[in-house]
C-alpha cells in the first residue's frame, strides 16, 4: 500500500520535471555526455575518433599552459567570489529600504551587466591606464614611486580583471538578493526591534539566515561563472600580457580550435567540472544544514 503511494508521488514529481528535463536531456545532456566520452579519445573534429584511454589526462600535468591557466583561474575565483558576494548583498540591503531614487540607483547598478563588454573594458582600461589614468595619477600624487602597469603588467593584470569582474557582476547578483529580500517576513524584524535589536544585529540574526537559499545560489553561480570566465578577459587583456590572465576556458578553446584536439579539450573541461562539482557538493551539504525554513 505504502509503496504504491510512493510510486504515485514519484510519478507526479517526475511529471513536473519532464518538460524541462526532456529538452535539457536531448539538447544539452547528450552533447555533454558525448564530450565527456571524448576525453578518452583523440578527435580533430573532422576525421575518425581514436580511443586513447587516459593519455589526455596524463598529458595535463606536463602542459605548462594548462598549469598556468589552472592557477590563474583559481586566483580569479578566490578574488571574485567573496568580494562580489559582499558587495551585492550590501547594495541589495541598502537599496531595499525606503530610499529616494531607489529605482534609479538599482537601474544604474544593473547597467554594467548589460553594457557592451567592449565598453566595460574600455572604461576600466581608461581608469586604470598606466600612464594617463586617474588611478595612477592619484597614486602618483600620493607619492607612490613604482606605479602598477595594471592590465599591461604581468603582476597587475589579474587584479585588474578581478576588479572589473566584481564591478560588472555586482548588479546581477544584487537583483537576486533584492528578490530574495522580498521573502523575508516583516514581522521578524518587528519582533526583533521590540526586543531591542539594532540594525547590525537584525542583519546578522534575521537577514543573513533567511537569505541562505539565495546565498547558496549566489555562491554557486559566482563560483561556476568564475571558473567559466572567458569573454571579459578576452576583451580586456586577450589572456595576456603573455599568459598572465590565461584561464582554463582559454586552454579549452585553444585545444579545440587552434590545435584541433577535441579529446584533450574535453579532458581539461573534466578537470574544471570535477573541481566545481567538489565545491558544489560542499556547498550543498552546508545548505542542508543552514537553510532555514520558516
Amino acid at each position: 500500500m505504502r509503496n504504491r503511494h510512493l510510486l504515485k508521488n514519484d510519478l507526479i514529481a517526475y511529471s513536473f520535471l519532464l518538460p524541462n528535463f526532456l529538452g535539457f536531456l536531448i539538447f544539452t545532456l547528450v552533447p555533454i555526455g558525448f564530450s565527456f566520452v571524448l576525453a578518452l579519445m583523440e578527435w580533430d573534429g573532422a576525421n575518425e575518433i581514436k580511443f586513447v584511454g587516459w593519455d589526455n589526462f596524463l598529458a595535463l600535468p606536463g602542459d605548462e599552459t594548462f598549469r598556468i591557466s589552472l592557477v590563474n583561474t583559481l586566483y580569479y575565483v578566490v578574488g571574485v567570489v567573496p568580494l562580489t558576494l559582499v558587495c551585492s548583498l550590501g547594495l541589495a540591503v541598502l537599496l531595499n529600504g525606503k530610499l529616494r531614487g531607489r529605482n534609479v540607483f538599482r537601474s544604474i547598478l544593473f547597467f554594467p551587466y548589460v553594457a557592451s563588454l567592449v565598453a566595460v573594458a574600455v572604461i576600466w582600461n581608461m581608469i586604470f591606464h598606466p600612464t594617463m589614468g586617474p588611478v595612477n595619477f592619484l597614486l602618483y600624487s600620493l607619492g607612490v614611486q613604482k606605479l602598477p602597469g595594471w592590465s599591461a603588467s604581468v603582476d597587475w593584470a589579474m587584479p585588474t580583471v578581478i576588479l572589473a569582474s566584481i564591478w560588472k557582476g555586482t548588479g546581477y547578483f544584487m537583483i537576486i538578493y533584492l528578490a530574495a529580500l522580498q521573502g523575508v517576513p516583516k514581522y521578524l524584524y518587528e519582533a526583533a526591534e521590540i526586543d531591542g535589536a539594532n540594525a547590525w544585529k537584525k542583519f546578522r540574526k534575521i537577514t543573513v539566515p533567511m537569505l541562505t537559499p539565495a546565498t547558496f545560489f549566489v555562491v554557486m553561480m559566482l563560483t561556476i561563472n568564475s571558473f567559466k570566465v572567458f569573454d571579459l578577459i578576452y576583451v580586456m587583456t586577450g589572456g595576456g600580457p603573455g599568459r598572465a590572465t590565461n584561464v582554463l576556458v582559454y586552454a579549452i578553446y585553444n585545444a579545440a580550435f587552434i590545435q584541433f584536439q577535441f579529446g584533450y579539450s574535453s579532458a581539461i573541461a573534466i578537470v574544471l567540472f570535477v573541481i566545481v562539482l567538489a565545491v558544489t557538493l560542499v556547498q550543498f551539504r552546508m545548505e542542508r544544514k543552514w537553510v532555514s525554513y520558516v
Partner: protein, 282 residues
C-alpha cells in the same frame, strides 16, 4: 536588516547622508560605461579612442544613429532577436518553475542526485560541448534555424536552480495546508507557488531576456542566412577584417539596450516589499 529604518535623530541624518553619498559614488562608477558608449556613438571613428579623451564631442555626429539602420538590416535583426527572446523567456519561465516545484516541495526518488546533476552541468563551459551539439542539431536538420536556438536555450538547468532556491523559502506549511484541503500538486503549483514567485519570475525573466537578447555565440554558430540573424550578429557587421567601427557599434548597442531597460524597469515593481507576503501570523 531587510529595510533601512532611519528616523530623524541627528546621528541618523548623518548616516542617511553617508549612505546616499556612497550610493551616488558607486552609481557614478557604474554608469561610466554607459556614458562612454554615448560619447563614442557620437564621434567619428578616428576620435573614439583618441587621447586626450573628450567626453562630449565638439561636433556630435548624430548621423551615426541613422547610419546603423541603413548600413545593416538592423530592423530585421531586431525583430528576430525579439522573437527569439520572447519565445525562449516564456518557455524557460514555464518549464523551470514547473521543475523547480518538484525539487523544492516534493519528495521523490533520486531527488538530490538529480538536482546535483542539474546544477553541476552549469559548470561546463559551452566551448566544450558546442561542437558535438552542433553536429547533432545539424543531423536533426535544425542548422540555420531559429528553432535550433529555441530548443537549445529554453530548457536550462540555470532556471531550475534559480526557481528552486526561491521555492525552498516558501513555507512548507502553506503547501501542507493546501494538500490537506485536497488540492492536487498541479493546483498547488498554479494557485500557490506561482503567485508567490513573482520576484523570482521577474528575476528569471530579466536574466533570460538579457542573455538571449545579447547572445552572440548561439546565433553565430547556428545561423547562416542573413534574414535570420540577430542584433549581436548585426553588430559584428561593423567589424571588418582590419578595423572596427566602434562609433556605429556603440550607437547600435545603445539602441538595442532600450528594450532591455524597458523590461527591467517594468519588472521593478516585483522587487518592492510587500508584493509577496509570506508572513503567517499565529
Amino acid at each position: 536588516m531587510g529595510q533601512l529604518r532611519l528616523n530623524r535623530r541627528p546621528g541618523a541624518i548623518l548616516g542617511k547622508t553617508l549612505v546616499y553619498l556612497f550610493l551616488i559614488l558607486v552609481a557614478a562608477g557604474m554608469i561610466l560605461p554607459f556614458l562612454w558608449m554615448v560619447s563614442a556613438s557620437l564621434k567619428l571613428e578616428k576620435d573614439v579612442f583618441r587621447y586626450p579623451f573628450e567626453w562630449w564631442p565638439k561636433v556630435p555626429i548624430w548621423k551615426n544613429y541613422t547610419e546603423i539602420w541603413t548600413k545593416v538590416p538592423f530592423l530585421t535583426f531586431t525583430f528576430n532577436t525579439a522573437k527569439l527572446t520572447l519565445i525562449i523567456t516564456v518557455l524557460q519561465l514555464f518549464t523551470s518553475s514547473f521543475a523547480a516545484y518538484a525539487f523544492a516541495k516534493l519528495d521523490f526518488r533520486g531527488k538530490n542526485l538529480l538536482f546535483l546533476g542539474y546544477v553541476s552541468t552549469i559548470a561546463i563551459p559551452w566551448q566544450v560541448y558546442m561542437v558535438p551539439q552542433f553536429i547533432m542539431m545539424r543531423h536533426l536538420g535544425l542548422s540555420d534555424t531559429h528553432l535550433a536556438l529555441i530548443l537549445l536555450q529554453a530548457f536550462s538547468a540555470f532556471g531550475v536552480f534559480l526557481m528552486r532556491q526561491f521555492y525552498v523559502s516558501v513555507p512548507d506549511e502553506l503547501v501542507q495546508a493546501a494538500r490537506v484541503d485536497g488540492m492536487n500538486e498541479y493546483g498547488i503549483w498554479a494557485k500557490i507557488m506561482v503567485p508567490l514567485s513573482k520576484p523570482p519570475m521577474a528575476t528569471l525573466t530579466i536574466f533570460t531576456f538579457v542573455f538571449v537578447w545579447n547572445d552572440f555565440m548561439g546565433p553565430l554558430i547556428y545561423i547562416n542566412t542573413q534574414d535570420l540573424k540577430t542584433i549581436q550578429l548585426g553588430l559584428r557587421m561593423f567589424i571588418s577584417q582590419y578595423s572596427a567601427e566602434y562609433a556605429l557599434i556603440m550607437a547600435a548597442s545603445l539602441v538595442s539596450l532600450i528594450p532591455v531597460f524597458v523590461v527591467f524597469f517594468s519588472l521593478q515593481r516585483f522587487f518592492v516589499e510587500g508584493v509577496a507576503s509570506t508572513g503567517i501570523k499565529n
